[in-house]
Symmetry: C2
């Protein structure tokens, strides 16, 4: 990884500075290298903002790591940071949820046997995306909601299997964040891969 | 939407300025309002960077719109802009693809009957995400690739159905971009919704 990139990460408060060994050289430990990879993955592959990565790093740095219980708490906190809306310019318009969309998502959750609370952040996000699609003349997404729910359930099942089977050097909080961010990116990339054929191939 | 947000979008070159009707008032047309919604959706829901949204707007502004053929061309161009890596600080490290990962994705595409070219951007992206997951001690994602491919295929099929059925006031290029960005976000949000139950509910 290039020196300007490392300096940029340090300047942005994402990475602690290495130990200076001379005026133009710094020493980085194995932990540093891992952190560098993590930051690059979240920024460049995950497409997260610098501010979001900074907030996630702060949570991970507080992760007690060795204790699985503490790690789960930190993991949930990190996922919350991840799901929080971007601060942007501090004047985010709050979209008023359309009650018909709320009813639609409620019915979907009921039909699917999902027990997610209707006042939770996950529920609100689905409603917000559907309302925004409606605003942008793409109301038809709402009509095919079950097809997307099928896809989502399969991905969620795959996640769950992974998280329970996961072992390795990294703490549970980091594992959750990486799985959430890159897992989403993986499904999205596979979807493009599947689609890039779909249109060129048979009528399917 | 707040005035600071609108000013911010204009300053960043995302939105043309409104027609000034007095020293502190500007008039916005219906097109402006639609553009505002689109920008907000891509930035805040889609999580795209300002630079990426600017590049997409430039493509959409060149979209001949009325001609379906021209619109498809602009749409493909917009999807390319969308998939291009972020310029960041201009020193992006190019990850060397692990040949084992390439073979793995090749085998997956073969098994799935996907005919996406192995030298295409979509293929490279899947390899890059898997390699990065490996670097971050999450090699197990590669073991469950088919589960994610199932999810991706379902989403891709839903997309295809939608794009062929879509009608409305917006041009095909905009429709493709919105469907790609918010469609991904929708699957990801539904997945969180499904997952938020999965862990709290039965052992499933």
């Amino acid at each position: 990884m290039s020196t300007p990139t490392i300096k940029y990460y340090i300047r942005e408060g994402l990475l602690p500075a290495g130990r200076l060994t001379s005026s133009n050289q710094a020493r980085y430990t194995e932990d540093h290298v891992h952190r560098l990879r993590l930051i690059r993955a979240l920024l460049e592959l995950g497409g997260l903002s610098v501010a979001k990565v900074r907030a996630i790093m702060a949570v991970l740095d507080g992760d007690p790591g060795s204790s699985p219980r503490g790690g789960q708490v930190a993991g949930l906190e990190a996922l919350e940071v991840l799901a929080a809306p971007a601060p942007q310019d501090g004047s985010l318009a709050i979209l008023t949820a359309d009650p018909r969309t709320v009813a639609l998502v409620d019915a979907l959750a009921e039909r699917r046997g999902w027990h997610a609370p209707a006042d939770g952040a996950e529920f609100a996000r689905v409603v917000e995306i559907l309302d925004t699609l409606g605003e942008l003349d793409q109301r038809h997404f709402a009509d095919r909601l079950d097809a997307y729910a099928d896809a989502a359930e399969r991905a969620a099942a795959a996640d769950k299997e992974l998280l329970h089977s996961a072992t390795g050097g990294t703490g549970p909080a980091e594992r959750l964040v990486v799985a959430a961010v890159l897992g989403d990116q993986l499904v999205s990339a596979l979807r493009r891969l599947a689609r890039s054929t779909g249109t060129a191939g048979t009528t399917g």
